[in-house]
């Protein structure tokens, strides 16, 4: 058996551009690994069962709920959390758009929403309102309200040509 086949307390992946190794259980949720193992507390824990999207991160370019990913599944993958995404030109545009539209109230859903928005705009730089709503349909917000968030993402789309 090739050594890379056995995941025994050594899961290596790229976190926000940096090579890291997780030394705990390969079955642990990536959510806990990112928050407790690597201090990425921008990854929020809302439900632990894939129902809220607060823990969303980008895994090899796709939005995933990190509570639904075992650490071993991330072996060899590139993970981007809000801590990494905040250093991009796309973030600057979304940051301004969310502030401008009043799309952040308590902020708990915001890291997941921003990453969901980034994935929507990367796949489809000029989405319709309906496409934005479908794109964030797995991200629950309980206080700001979706209209402001949708407005913000559409505003970012108008401004962000080529930045996603």
């Amino acid at each position: 058996m090739k050594p890379e086949t056995v995941l025994n307390a050594d899961v290596r992946f790229t976190l926000n551009g940096k090579a890291v190794a997780w030394l705990g259980s390969p079955a642990a949720p990536l959510l806990d690994v990112l928050r407790e193992g690597f201090g990425n507390t921008g990854v929020k824990c809302g439900c632990r069962e894939g129902e809220c999207g607060a823990c969303a991160v980008i895994l090899d370019g796709e939005l995933v709920n990190s509570c639904m990913v075992a650490a071993g599944r991330a072996s060899g993958a590139e993970i981007v959390t809000i801590e990494g995404y905040k250093n991009t030109p796309g973030f600057e545009i979304l940051d301004r758009a969310f502030a401008g539209a009043g799309a952040v109230q308590c902020g708990f859903c915001t890291p997941g929403m921003i990453l969901a928005a980034a994935c929507i705009l990367r796949n489809n730089p000029h989405p319709t309102t309906e496409e934005v709503r479908k794109g964030i349909s797995g991200n629950l917000c309980r206080c700001t309200g979706y209209n402001a968030i949708v407005t913000a993402i559409l505003a970012a789309a108008g401004e962000g040509e080529g930045k996603w």
């Binding site: 642990a28 894939g50 969303a56 599944r73 072996s75 629950l140």
Partner: protein, 271 residues
């Protein structure tokens, strides 16, 4: 506990036979169980399980293909895409796999409903070889599958023919992130005025998805006009066949909605 990341199917089958690790497709059902010390056999690196291809009779979808991939793929049939795009939300569809949806064994599995109604087959592989069986035979009862020790779900084979028109409805509490309270799929193929194939399936009702070829046979071979004359008998047969098990939503409600959807399917298809 040790987990495994096999790079080929033969390596995975070797490990499955020797370690007892749990096959891990997309993880979206397994992770809800919260077993931090589980031993997993991660399947996503195995090239053989990630292929979508067509042959003369079937569209073949590898077990590790995610819902997102299937929904985006030009070869996959419309009825399957429609059902898949109503599963959960993008961040779940990017992980969840076809093989996992089937292997979880739930009668609420939205992709499995489509495999039942289209008469799809499963290719199961082990160190000893492989076998191909109709999906209906794979589900033996509540959470009970005809999956032998050391066997993995490798592929689902969807017939290319037999469903010119289809009807699909999922009833959930809301549009996104909603488990099916009930689901229904119907397909039909006609030649001129004659029904050459017709199939229906009901999800989230019983221990296993309901697929009654014997009842649907009442309409096959008839013209649409002839089918209308036996419509009442057909509906009566289903009224007897559908016996919902206890669930989060009342049995009475689910039965009524099943019958309403079946009637609407017949109306839509002019029967």
């Amino acid at each position: 506990m040790v987990s495994y990341l096999p790079q080929s199917l033969s390596e995975a089958l070797e490990l499955l036979a020797s370690t007892g690790a749990i096959p891990y497709g997309g993880g979206t059902d397994l992770m809800v169980e919260g077993k931090n010390d589980a031993s997993y056999l991660f399947l996503h690196k195995i090239p053989e399980l990630g292929v979508i291809a067509g042959d003369a009779d079937y569209i073949r979808i590898g077990a590790s293909c995610t819902f997102t991939r299937v929904a985006d793929h030009p070869l996959c049939p419309g009825i399957l895409k429609e059902a898949i795009l109503q599963i959960a939300a993008p961040a779940i569809r990017n992980l969840g796999t076809i093989g996992g949806n089937i292997g979880n064994g739930s009668p609420k599995a939205d992709s499995a409903l489509i495999f039942f109604v289209t008469g799809s087959r499963l290719r199961l592989v082990s160190k000893r070889g492989e076998r191909i069986i109709p999906i209906k035979d794979f589900y033996l009862g509540r959470r009970s599958l005809d999956l032998r020790p050391g066997e993995l779900i490798a592929e689902v084979l969807i017939p290319k023919m037999g469903y010119d028109r289809y009807y699909y409805r999922k009833v959930g509490a809301r549009d996104a992130l909603a488990i099916s309270r009930l689901s229904f799929a119907g397909i039909i193929k006609t030649q001129g005025d004659r029904i050459v194939n017709l199939a229906t399936a009901f999800g989230a009702v019983s221990d296993v998805i309901i697929r009654r070829e014997d009842i649907d046979a009442m309409l096959i071979g008839k013209t649409l006009a002839e089918a209308k004359t036996v419509r009442d008998n057909y509906l009566a047969a289903y009224a007897e066949a559908i016996v919902p098990i206890r669930g989060r939503v009342s049995e009475k409600y689910r039965k009524r909605v099943c019958m309403n959807l079946l009637r609407d399917f017949l109306d839509t298809m002019n029967i």
